[in-house]
């Protein structure tokens, strides 16, 4: 993989301009494309997903002079086309090895659990209640509980899924920050 070709400021500006005439919107699109490419590579079984995503961005940027204003389709589609090519090269080059699972450190696990308890305590009453009611139970009882919860909140089941996911994602971030501050 050519890691020597890094994006210069000039090239990065050209890429943003190609993504959108508004620089701020272009920056958001750039981030979104990068995160989604990483997700796609992870789903395809690539352990080096971030490196691959950066490789694709580098290649697209290097071709901007050639494609310029001639390419009029979805910019994302162009990235996807380059992604498929990069993936084929990657798989030809090597068999991806799964990363070794980290050894479990029971002290760290307990520290994480305490951080989780602290983070949950910091949630609003409404979010804490939603979290517990959404994730408690098993099998059919859990499904029924979620259905009743959605009805009680007056939202569709899918909206409840998304809401629970966002609370969970925020909790995970909170736990990571708590751990970092404990380690300092």
């Amino acid at each position: 993989m050519n890691k020597n070709w890094l994006l210069s400021q000039e090239s990065f500006d050209a890429l943003l301009a190609w993504l959108d005439s508004d620089r701020e919107r272009a920056g958001i699109k750039y981030e979104q494309i990068r995160y989604r490419l990483i997700r796609i590579f992870v789903a395809r079984g690539c352990a080096e997903a971030e490196d691959l995503a950066d490789e694709i961005i580098n290649r697209v940027t290097s071709k901007l002079n050639a494609i310029g204003d001639e390419f009029t389709g979805d910019r994302e589609r162009y990235f996807y086309g380059v992604a498929n090519k990069v993936l084929m090269e990657y798989h030809r080059r090597r068999q991806p090895q799964p990363p070794p699972s980290a050894a479990v450190d029971s002290n760290r696990v307990e520290q994480e659990y305490r951080c989780l308890e602290q983070c949950i305590a910091q949630l609003s009453d409404e979010n804490r209640e939603l979290l517990l009611q959404y994730y408690q139970g098993e099998g059919r009882a859990k499904i029924e509980q979620r259905r009743r919860l959605a009805e009680r909140l007056g939202i569709a089941p899918n909206a409840l899924r998304i809401r629970a996911f966002r609370i969970r994602a925020a909790l995970q971030e909170c736990v990571e920050k708590c751990l970092e501050s404990n380690l300092r």
Partner: protein, 251 residues
Amino acid sequence: MQNFLLGSLDADRRIEIEERILREPQAYEELLVVEEELIDQYLAGELSIAERRQFETHFLLTAERQKNLHFGKLLKRYVDSVRPAETNAPAKKSFSFYPRLLAERPALAFAASLVACLGIIFLVWLAAKNPERRTQTTVRASMAITLAPGSMRSGGTTQRVNVPPKGVDLKLELQLARPTYPKYRSQLLRESETLQTTDGLKAEAKGDQHIVPLTITREILTPGDYQVRLSGVLDSGQNEFIDNYSFRVVE
């Protein structure tokens, strides 16, 4: 989306989903949500043997997902340790209207009672007048398709079925390797959302095979990908997961 994450989709379908992920914010968020749900299903032991294998060899390939699995375990541990939340369902409204009416407007209450009694007498008279109407049952037409379980399906292709006409239900015949259980339970899912749960299903012989018949009402079928999760139910009431059956409803 779950099959996409487990790496078990055919190439055409995978490309379709990847393009959607790249272009649509909702598809991207859906992917993240389904990743977490898959982790929860793995931790709860709800994946089939094949899905579990794919989860461990394909899904868990990256450090980030292993970190998410670890967080999922922590969250499960916390949730399992907390007393089940009492529901906040509003207290059932007791029917206190009539006693209040009786106390405040006794004449009106008496008139309402009289009307109710006359109504009941009328309905009983009507039923007695047309006895054959009591025995009439409405039978809806249905169209049937046979589904092989994910573990038996060759070629990795998903069965397609057209949206049934109005008033016509879809009858699925879920193939079984062996009719091991006295009863079965099914969950119909679409995009990881459970649409219908059916208990008390029984296996039937069909030629030299065994199937579990499952009827899905037309009203809940719209174009998209569906999955039926079939479990066997022991006499003790315990469920044992058997397999998944996939199909796609098209216009």
